[in-house]
């Protein structure tokens, strides 16, 4: 059992939907990013997705691309991302942390070394956008063996034939991508998402969390009500990019969390 499994078990017992928030590690700098991260649990965030910046984020829209650029320009590295997690863990031993990003910075560090360091830092799960099930031997299998959840994306193009393959080595939760497209683009529509979530839930006991295209408390409520929870990323990252004070960023996160939790 990881912190992710524990959190979803607790939410289920409380009949509550999960609210997952994404921020880019080191955006705009490590100190601000860490201050925001530390404030997320009190703002109602159940699971934190911490972005690892990459120069070539093929699945991300402009908002998260720019966040990655700010972070890298500020000198962010994998070492610093892991240190941020350790610093966060010093004051919070319960909130699950999922690292999200692309494979090359992990591959470059070496998979074994990365997994040891990630586990030691207090990371609970990984979402690696460019590792489909066809490449499970790369990181997914070793990550599970190291005691980390490997959370997979299911998408509108994941048809019935392919779904079992996607679910096979997934753990923690299933991240359903609500739209074909990049992060922060088209708005998710609850009536489109509901049957897709039902289709996935018919094949797995894992919680299904919906992300991409959710930016307001109302949308968070609407989407969370047809799934086990929702993820908001670009809307939060946009506030950070606009240099809003930490307190204001967190107030907006709290409003989004309230939306999801009222579902």
């Amino acid at each position: 059992m990881t912190r992710i499994d524990d959190t979803f078990a607790r939410l289920k017992a409380e009949r509550k939907k999960a609210f997952v928030a994404y921020i880019m590690g080191g955006d705009p700098d490590v100190a601000t990013s860490l201050a925001i991260m530390k404030g997320l649990p009190a703002a109602g965030v159940d699971v934190i997705e911490l972005g690892m910046p990459f120069t070539d984020p093929m699945a991300d829209g402009p908002t998260i691309q720019l966040a990655g650029q700010r972070s890298l320009e500020g000198g962010m590295t994998m070492d610093k991302t892991l240190r941020m997690v350790r610093d966060f863990r010093a004051g919070d031993s319960a909130t699950p942390i999922v690292l999200m990003g692309y494979y090359n910075p992990i591959y470059s560090r070496g998979v074994d070394r990365f997994l040891t360091d990630a586990k030691a830092a207090g990371i609970d799960g990984l979402i690696v956008v460019d590792l489909p099930p066809e490449e499970d031997d790369e990181l997914c299998i070793p990550a599970q063996a190291a005691g980390l959840n490997f959370i997979r994306l299911a998408t509108p193009t994941t048809d019935a034939k392919r779904l079992p393959k996607v679910l096979q080595n997934t753990s923690g939760f299933v991240y359903y991508v609500s739209v074909t497209g990049i992060t922060g683009a088209a708005a998710a529509v609850a009536t489109d998402v509901a049957p897709e979530v039902a289709r996935i839930k018919a094949s797995t006991d894992l919680p299904v969390i919906v992300g991409f295209g959710i930016s307001t408390p109302d949308q968070a409520k609407a989407i969370a009500s047809v799934a086990d929870g929702c993820v908001v990323g670009s809307a939060i990252v946009k506030d950070i990019g606009a240099k809003k004070p930490v307190a204001e960023v967190l107030a907006n996160v709290a409003a989004l969390a309230k939306g999801a939790h009222s579902a």
């Binding site: 910046p53 990459f54 120069t55 070539d56 984020p57 093929m58 699945a59 829209g61 402009p62 691309q65 650029q69 890298l72 590295t77 994998m78 692309y102 494979y103 090359n104 910075p105 992990i106 591959y107 470059s108 560090r109 956008v129 460019d130 590792l131 489909p132 066809e134 490449e135 997979r152 994306l153 299911a154 998408t155 509108p156 193009t157 994941t158 048809d159 392919r162 996607v166 991508v177 074909t180 497209g181 990049i182 683009a185």
Partner: protein
């Protein structure tokens, strides 16, 4: 080697799309069903005689194939050693080898019922080829091009527009070829139902590296029979040389010779200002290390933390921080040798080719020619070198004039 039919170098990739360690399918889940579908459709087309009949007809009547294999007599005399042949792929319609591959992919796209074609381009050659074939078949065409390249390759941008394509300047990242590829992938992931992504080189997720190689292999296949025709039955080149950005013209020349142990294979990377710590070059094999980008594992220019670096070369067509995975494999197993040529050396070869052969080469094959100039003088007169003249230099005269300090207006 090839004699026993078992230890062939021509059987790759494997079922996972790997050439040894390299290649693979490192894409997001949204794209995975698309590339599996493409693989299935391509595997079918590959053995379908009607597919190749259509290709052959268009190659002959639309592209102008076969391209000549030309004995460069004055260049040979000047260098005083090996006999130098040029494979004249710059004489193809649109002026480069790129159209060989585009035709194949567009015919496949039509068979798959796709109505919208997207492509990335650096120097604009692949973009022009794609816009050309889309115009011929009445398909919608969108080309992603780095904002920086849009500026420095204005004639090609105008060509694409004349051909009816929409050219989208890419400002994400640093606005270069790799960013154009990122934006093309973002478009594809958004428009999955009607869109076909026509990749311009032997890179990307499986099946692209193998598919593009197969379409470009017409280059090497022609060289085989043309060499026999000119030098006698059974005569093969002793050395084949081609320039490498992503590596499609090189793979097209090399592939049909992989199982002929007597043929030396040399790929020439862009050495920019020199392959050293300054990283002002595009020599992925000689100056990079394995990593994962744009759907495949290959050698990449990257920093110690796995962040991708920008390449640097006088030639916009070689300005890419990666290289096709099959080249990475051929490099590691030692079947092909990879060297680098600097901007200055390429410029010298460019000028010599103009003066001695009356051929204005593109800056890309000028790199290959520069390496020919290095090795030919020390080789015997019966040693035959074939270099791939993969593009014509009209597009480059502005860049060359600037580097030679000449004002074009005079």
């Amino acid at each position: 080697m090839a004699e026993d039919g078992i230890n062939s170098f021509m059987t790759g990739p494997d079922e996972q799309g790997r050439f040894g360690l390299f290649g693979g399918r490192f894409v997001s889940e949204t794209l995975m069903p698309l590339i599996l579908d493409l693989e299935e459709r391509y595997e079918f087309a590959k053995t379908d005689p009607t597919f190749w009949a259509e290709m052959d007809w268009l190659w002959k009547h639309y592209v102008g194939r076969p391209s000549p294999l030309y004995f460069a007599e004055r260049m040979t005399e000047h260098l005083g050693g090996a006999k130098v042949y040029m494979k004249r792929d710059e004489l193809n319609h649109t002026g480069a080898h790129k159209i060989n591959n585009v035709l194949g992919q567009i015919i496949l796209a039509r068979r798959m019922g796709k109505t919208r074609i997207i492509a990335e381009t650096g120097a604009g050659q692949h973009g022009v080829a794609t816009a050309t074939v889309c115009a011929k078949f009445g398909l919608q065409c969108v080309v992603y091009m780095g904002a920086h390249d849009v500026e420095r390759q204005a004639p090609n941008v105008f060509r694409m527009k004349l051909l009816g394509a929409e050219v989208i300047p890419v400002t994400s990242g640093r606005g270069t070829l790799k960013d154009a590829m990122n934006d093309a992938l973002r478009d594809w992931v958004t428009n999955v139902r009607d869109t076909f992504y026509c990749i311009g080189t032997v890179a990307g997720p499986h099946p692209y590296p193998a598919m593009v190689r197969d379409f470009q292999s017409i280059i090497g296949k022609e060289v085989r029979w043309q060499m026999a025709e000119q030098e006698g039955e059974g005569r093969l080149p002793d050395t084949v040389i081609a320039a490498i950005g992503g590596g499609s013209n090189a793979m097209g020349l090399f592939y049909p010779f992989l199982d002929d142990p007597s043929v030396n294979i040399i790929g020439v990377e862009a050495g920019g200002k020199g392959v050293d710590d300054r990283m002002e070059h595009c020599a992925s094999l000689t100056g990079g290390r394995p990593g994962v980008l744009h759907g495949n594992r290959t050698y990449l220019l990257q920093d110690p933390d796995g962040q991708i670096l920008e390449g640097f070369s006088i030639s916009a067509g070689l300005d890419y921080p990666g290289i096709g995975p099959e080249h990475a494999w051929l490099h590691d197993i030692g079947r092909a040798k990879y060297v680098s040529i600097t901007d200055a050396e390429a410029l010298e070869a460019f000028q010599l080719c103009c003066k001695l052969e009356g051929i204005i080469p593109a800056l890309e094959p000028s790199h290959a020619l520069a390496h020919v100039m290095k090795i030919a003088p020390d080789l015997p007169r019966d040693h035959i070198i074939v270099m791939n003249m993969c593009g014509r230099g009209d597009k480059d005269i502005f860049t060359v004039a600037k580097h030679l300090g000449q004002d074009m207006k005079v």
